[in-house]
Symmetry: C2
Subunit: 222 residues, 2 copies
């Protein structure tokens, strides 16, 4: 069986889970305790990061961006990167935006500080980071809203990896109650569409021990 | 004419220059003063980063990873991502390693702190960052040496984007004299091979105003 090493609230792990589900590729989830720095894990992925996908043929693929490019090439049905060169540039630009800029400015400051640091044993949240995260999320919600208003999906006329990259970040933030959806109704409407997809169900059923999500987290009509 | 917006010591800009040269795609360089946050630039690249490539047909492509994927699809001659799925995973894994981990642990702590902060008007180097950069580079040189010793090129039997990603980071560090090549003779031998390629020449001729590189920087037999 294909295995995805992950941690539950990692937005990068979630992005890959969404892609695997959209492409109808069965997989088993294994939580990787990164703080243990397991030698067997480091041998496959010296960067010691999640997610890492291990295919049934033994091929191991670390890094969510590498995994998504691999899945697109290995399983081209249900394409998620767009068709034309220009579409593919826009999808990848937005994926880089959410994986990079959004994550650094928002998710890292909130989810990483509050939860992932604890899970991997790296101490308490930093107050400056939390403040920055709350200050940054409003502008990002507005940008997503603008994209959703001017296009059918975030990167253009078709559902793409850009939507899953954005939704993965937001779903982790939503789990800890840090998304004020009233700030951008258009963003909320787009997220409601994504959240209703069967590929999202497992993520909405995720529970982190000792931390319950707010009631609207798994509600499709939030 | 194709235009690459860049800053001279940005390793990501250098990576794209190397790829464009290897693929024999002519381009014009324009230095982008990111601190000015030019509205025309932000309209094309709201992340306000370099490099950004603008094709003759007007297509603008920000983010070095997005640019490299685009160039591979648009100009498949001289392929740089490997042929088989497994090769492509390994090339992209290493590119992510150098663009992400190496850059965060080494280049950002040294080149960014010493030079790029000054160029973009963000103040003086942070001593803690400098110490971390010097402490981290040794392990990375060793890892590159191990790759170069066990393989013909860093990702396997063929020259790939992984070599250019690594060489781009190292060339920026070498410009400011921060690579102690005696730490890993295998890494030096591999770098000498890359540095001798015609695609590298323009980078070796780069000069940043007010900062001269050490004498060995442009020397092919350093």
């Amino acid at each position: 069986m294909r295995i995805l090493h992950h941690i539950p609230l990692s937005p990068y792990s979630r992005k890959v889970r969404l892609v695997l589900n959209e492409k109808r590729l069965p997989f088993e989830l294994k939580v990787e305790k990164l703080a243990e720095r397991r030698p067997e894990y480091l041998a496959l992925n010296p960067a010691n990061t999640v997610p890492m996908l291990v295919e049934e043929n033994g091929l191991s693929i670390p890094d969510s961006a590498v995994i998504c490019e691999y899945l697109e090439e290995a399983y081209p049905d249900t394409p998620l990167l767009g068709r034309t060169l220009a579409e593919r540039v826009e999808v990848r630009r937005l994926v880089a935006w959410f994986d990079g800029k959004f994550a650094a400015e928002v998710t890292r400051n909130l989810v990483h500080e509050k939860i992932i640091k604890r899970l991997v044993g790296r101490g308490n949240p930093d107050a400056t980071a939390l403040r920055a995260g709350y200050a940054n999320i409003a502008g990002h919600l507005e940008y997503i809203g603008w994209l959703a208003e001017t296009r059918k999906w975030l990167a253009g006329p078709t559902l793409s990896l850009a939507d899953f990259a954005a939704a993965a970040q937001l779903s982790s933030l939503d789990y800890i109650g840090d998304v004020d959806w009233s700030l951008s109704p258009t963003t909320r409407d787009w997220y409601a569409k994504i959240k209703s997809r069967p590929s999202f169900r497992a993520i909405l059923n995720d529970r982190v021990i000792g931390l319950n999500p707010p009631p609207h987290y798994a509600d499709l009509d939030f």
